[in-house]
């Protein structure tokens, strides 16, 4: 934040209060004060907290924003776009691949000219997954036609969120706006921040939404929104958009000026630190620019005229202001937390160079370094290195290496990874203990499995040393399942806890072939591997005795965002297994609600208060959804009934090798986020089955069979006996929530009864 010029009076400033909060908290706080109509969101680290804070504030009655938990970022962008067409004020927050997943929608929003504000909490885009901050996601946004503001501090996050909406809705602009700030460095670091005491002050600064623009709910003036065009027309639409984005430059300056009067804090298009007489300078985006300022002070003590340029807005790109700022600079190093692979420099270096090209008198030497990828820390000595490179270029009169990476390391050959264990393959996992045969009379499979003791001869599929929480239910569930699977497996993990804790580079807890893909696309990915395997086998290019069993593992809400892919894969009926470990939430990202979170359960996006008692709707019945795709085999299982699960796994393997797709759902305990005792996992699973919340059954060639009926065994318990184990459901047992508990119990009962009828009636 630039300190305010002396001559700007603070008399007009509204009353402000000092707090100590992070960037995410301040983005949420600004949104709550503005009181947007709607936020459509999907959790992704490190932006998730924005929705969490808003949910918590809503549970305390602090705003009225309708928070819609989408089924993925593509959906969240659709929800936001739809809401924006009505003229509603719309808000979102995302990061990394979430931003990329919605990117198809971003030009729709800008090209059809509907305002909204989205916080992009910047993070590295996968390739190899990395949850920490760089700007590789932001750079994908450069060509979307959105205005992009960049916020270096939690204070700037708050302030820019207030300016952004007014800019977005301005009649000369009418474009959506991104406020981009650094994942973790800014989103999670708590700093001293001033905010406006009265939300009315914030609302009056933003002003009423301008009227007279298209609305999809204007009954007196019906509109066609989104007609298709040919080039003759599209070029004119694009021209309008281009003009509007350039106009946003002046509008931004105007709003920033007003904001300075209003708040006492000014944000020019560029944040210039000691640039007046600078010989050498760094051009850095967001938090790194702040860190580098300390180094400027140190260099200046040594007589080196150093400075920092950091833009507050990059779309539109402040080309003219950059030309002015660099007039007398001898050497500039543009440091970027993202690359434009193959372009001989990253994006902003090219834009700076192209701005300077217009100034025929400018002879600033421009160097470019890509640094700090994936949240790699940027220390003071790194900034000093950057200045040294610029000083070297200044002295030489040219840049020896105009473009390079910085901070990459060659590694030492003697530290290269060596194999640790012998390859574990078909022989390892063919125990010969699992017998599956087709029963011609029943048209079903007969399975024989030995006692658990005998099965301990069969090695585990996963290696110890994984980083799961104490008491995690994932591995007992998965290992029991794999007890029933003989021979070689190719296993795909969608993003989630099971993947994260087994695959933290350079360590792996996988013994067999493992593929990871992002968690909306696992089924499609594995189906590609399956079909390619069979094609290469048919051509005689793969020499193999027994076919692999292809297993896709998902959890942590992967059957929400990945449902489309799963259904498509099921309808194509590939020979593979989709196995879901259901922990009733997005536990990998901090326990946000998933569609399989049951009614009333507490998560970090379904906070509990008197007005809002947890998750507002019933849990998703994924097994029934998958069964209705008419795949050959669907099952449910849990660690508390090991023989039942192993048998189902054996059947799953047979069907996946002989007929087509299998879907299995394992309920597993997440002690951390269920707020249960680490040691209670198995008891909780048992109670979930005996209360009929999680019936054990299978749908084999279309026929439903309950495989464990607690009623028949006289073991049925009340739902509350299951719920009492978990902190996340304690409130449901209170007298004041009796109605909610009853509603939940009714739903469980209704699903159980339906299942029993299906069990008794082979035709349905």
């Amino acid at each position: 934040m630039a300190t305010l010029e002396e001559n700007v009076t603070t008399q007009l400033s509204k009353e402000q209060v000092t707090t100590f909060e992070s960037g995410n908290e301040m983005a949420a706080y600004a949104a709550a004060q503005i009181n947007y109509h709607l936020m459509g969101y999907f959790p992704i680290t490190p932006s998730t907290e924005v929705a969490q804070f808003l949910d918590m504030m809503k549970s305390k009655g602090q705003h009225d924003i309708e928070l819609v938990a989408a089924d993925g970022e593509h959906g969240s962008a659709g929800i936001c776009f739809g809401a924006a067409t009505t003229g509603a004020r719309v808000f979102n927050a995302t990061s990394a691949n979430g931003f990329l997943y919605m990117i198809e929608q971003l030009p729709v929003q800008s090209g059809l000219r509907f305002p909204m504000v989205m916080n992009l909490v910047t993070r590295a885009v996968s390739g190899p997954l990395d949850i920490r901050g760089d700007h590789s996601d932001l750079y994908y946004g450069l060509n979307t036609g959105w205005v992009i503001l960049t916020a270096r501090t939690p204070q700037a996050v708050y302030d820019m969120n207030i300016m952004a909406l007014r800019l977005s809705e301005h009649e000369d602009v009418r474009l959506p706006v991104v406020v981009a700030y650094d994942g973790f460095f800014t989103s999670h670091q708590k700093r001293r921040v001033d905010y406006f005491k009265d939300r009315e002050d914030v609302q009056s600064f933003v002003g009423e939404a301008p009227s007279g623009f298209a609305s999809s709910i204007d009954k007196d003036n019906p509109k066609t929104i989104g007609a298709h065009m040919n080039g003759d027309d599209l070029i004119n639409n694009n021209y309008q958009q281009s003009e509007a984005l350039y106009k946003a430059y002046d509008v931004y300056k105007e709003i920033a000026k007003d904001f300075a009067t209003f708040s006492g804090r000014s944000y020019g298009t560029l944040d210039l630190y000691k640039m007046e007489d600078a010989d050498v300078a760094l051009f850095l985006l967001n938090s790194a620019a702040e860190s580098a300022k300390d180094v400027v002070d140190r260099l200046r003590e040594r007589g080196i005229k150093a400075g920092i340029i950091s833009p507050n807005i990059i779309r539109p790109f402040p080309a003219e202001d950059i030309r002015q700022a660099l007039k007398n600079v001898k050497a500039l190093l543009v440091g970027e937390r993202a690359d434009s692979y193959g372009a001989h420099g990253a994006n902003l270096a090219h834009e700076v160079k192209s701005a300077l090209q217009e100034d025929k008198e400018n002879d600033t030497i421009v160097l470019n370094r890509v640094f700090g990828m994936g949240g790699k820390d940027f220390y003071a000595d790194d900034a000093e290195q950057f200045f040294n490179m610029a000083l070297d270029a200044m002295e030489k009169g040219y840049a020896e290496t105009p473009f390079d990476y910085y901070g990459h390391t060659p590694g030492e050959p003697e530290k290269a990874l060596e194999p640790v264990i012998e390859p574990q393959n078909r022989e390892t996992y063919n125990s010969g203990l699992i017998k599956v045969s087709e029963n011609e009379e029943t048209g079903k499979l007969d399975v024989r499995v030995p006692p658990l003791r005998k099965l301990t001869t069969k090695p585990k599929r996963f290696a110890p040393g994984h980083g799961a929480c104490p008491g995690c239910g994932i591995f007992p569930g998965l290992e029991l399942f794999f007890k029933g699977i003989e021979g070689d497996a190719v296993i795909l993990f969608q993003t989630g806890c099971a993947y994260v804790v087994t695959s933290a580079f350079p360590y792996s807890s996988h013994k067999q072939n493992m593929i990871h893909n992002l968690f909306q696309n696992g089924p499609a990915t594995l189906s590609g591997a399956v079909e390619a395997f069979f094609e290469m086998k048919d051509r005689g290019e793969v020499d193999i005795d027994d076919d692999f069993t292809f297993v896709m593992i998902t959890g942590d809400g992967g059957m929400d965002i990945g449902m489309g892919s799963a259904i498509g894969t099921a309808l194509r009926n590939h020979k593979m297994i989709i196995l879901e470990y259901d922990n009733e939430g997005y536990m990998n990202t901090g326990s946000q609600m998933s569609y399989s979170t049951p009614l009333g359960h507490m998560t970090s996006t379904t906070n509990v208060s008197e007005e809002r008692p947890g998750k507002p709707f019933h849990h998703k019945d994924t097994a029934q959804i998958m069964a209705s795709t008419n795949i050959p085999y669907v099952f449910t299982g849990t660690e508390a009934y090991p023989q039942d699960l192993i048998k189902k796994a054996a059947k799953a393997q047979w069907y996946a090798q002989n007929e087509g797709l299998v879907y299995g759902k394992l309920l597993i305990t997440c002690p951390l986020n269920w707020k249960s005792n680490d040691r209670d996992g198995e008891n909780i699973m048992k109670a979930a089955v005996e209360s009929c919340f999680f019936p054990l059954y299978e749908v084999e060639r279309g026929e439903t069979a309950i495989t464990y009926d607690p009623e028949a065994k006289n073991k049925r318990i009340e739902l509350s006996e299951w719920l009492q184990y978990m902190g996340k459901t304690k409130h449901l047992l209170k007298e004041s929530n009796a109605d909610l508990l009853q509603e939940f119990a009714d739903e469980v009962e209704s699903r159980w009864k339906t299942l029993k009828v299906k069990h008794e009636t082979p035709l349905i």
């Binding site: 390391t409 060659p410 990874l417 012998e422 994984h466």
Partner: protein
């Protein structure tokens, strides 16, 4: 006049908390920082080490304080702190917890052991060692380790006002959990009064303990294309025993009926089996014991055991090493172990 006892080049007084996920070090860090910034009007920042770490994995929390008019622009982790708080003693096996400690810095350790033993394990040469039995206090008061640690930290950070923290504790609990107010204030106070100090004098030419920035094991010449890992199952090289917070299962082979219920529920794949002959000479699998290197102490196995061959145990130093049965992995000959 600055109330801060010491400052580094940028004007910061810095604190680093070392812990494992689940012990509340992040919350303690936040409360300390808020006490300085909102309570005393200092400027400050607070953040944690970030990653995909789960409960039981090493985490750090950082607190920077400076005078109100000093601007904080540095975002990087604290490498040379004035004070270090170690919430979990066993961490020293996984992390160099005292990395970068100032030569006249203070390190607070949650421990029941002697100054000399702790000093030896931490490889501390000089500086002030503070020891408090935060786990013991928390167990006795049925509260959390972090509250006792906060009490001890307040003794060290004597510019903070302990009465203000007592008030924060009161406000945190009194509405929803009024019965927890007194135990938590007692926990804080016991941490404050029961912490003990011993200073190991530094030679006159002593410098701050050297710190090393961890470097990745692999580089662009040695990392496989696309980040592929060929060393399958190399996580067996990890030692997770530091994830335990004081408890482990004890195994009594004489009582064991080899039913494998424990093996079925174990999240960390710790149970070691071997083929042998039963009384009638038939080949059978027998449970040999527990590979404690991977055991995180969840105790699910104890509840699953039908015959009490597995029991709860408060972990004593050395027990796991003496009683563990190692997995017989099919190691590659000449492979790294």
């Amino acid at each position: 006049m600055s109330i801060l006892p010491k400052k580094n080049q940028l004007g910061f007084y810095e604190i680093r908390l070392e812990s494992i996920g689940g012990l509340g070090a992040n919350l303690a860090g936040k409360m300390l920082a808020e006490a300085g910034v909102l309570g005393l009007g200092l400027n400050g920042s607070n953040f944690s080490s970030y990653g995909s770490e789960k409960k039981g994995s090493p985490v750090k929390s950082f607190i920077r304080f400076c005078d109100p008019e000093v601007e904080i622009r540095d975002h990087s982790p604290i490498e040379q702190p004035h004070v270090i708080g170690v919430f979990h003693e066993a961490l020293y096996k996984m992390v160099d917890v005292v990395s970068g400690l100032d030569s006249d810095g203070v390190v607070l350790v949650n421990s029941t052991r002697s100054f000399d033993d702790v000093k030896h394990d931490l490889q501390l040469e000089y500086g002030t060692l503070a020891i408090v039995d935060a786990l013991g206090i928390a167990n006795e008061e049925r509260t959390k380790v972090n509250t006792a640690m906060l009490g001890a930290l307040y003794r060290i950070l004597d510019f903070l006002d302990p009465d203000a923290m007592r008030e924060v504790i009161r406000k945190t609990f009194e509405k929803k959990y009024p019965h927890l107010v007194e135990p938590n204030i007692r926990t804080f106070d016991r941490g404050y009064y029961e912490v003990e100090f011993k200073t190991f004098d530094a030679p006159t030419d002593a410098k701050a303990r050297e710190f090393t920035r961890p470097q990745p094991r692999l580089g662009y010449n040695t990392q496989e294309l696309g980040g592929v890992i060929s060393a399958q199952a190399n996580s067996i090289q990890k030692d997770l025993s530091g994830s335990r917070i004081g408890f482990l299962p004890a195994f009594n082979q004489e009582k064991c009926i080899n039913c494998a219920q424990c093996d079925t529920v174990c999240p960390d794949l710790c149970f070691v089996w071997e083929e042998g002959e039963d009384k009638r000479g038939r080949k059978q699998m027998f449970l040999q014991g527990i590979d404690y290197q991977y055991c995180k102490g969840c105790l699910k196995c104890v509840d699953a055991c039908p015959v009490a061959a597995l029991t709860d145990m408060t972990e004593e130093l050395g027990y796991a090493d003496e009683n563990q049965v190692k997995h017989n992995f099919p190691l590659v000959t000449g492979g790294v172990r």
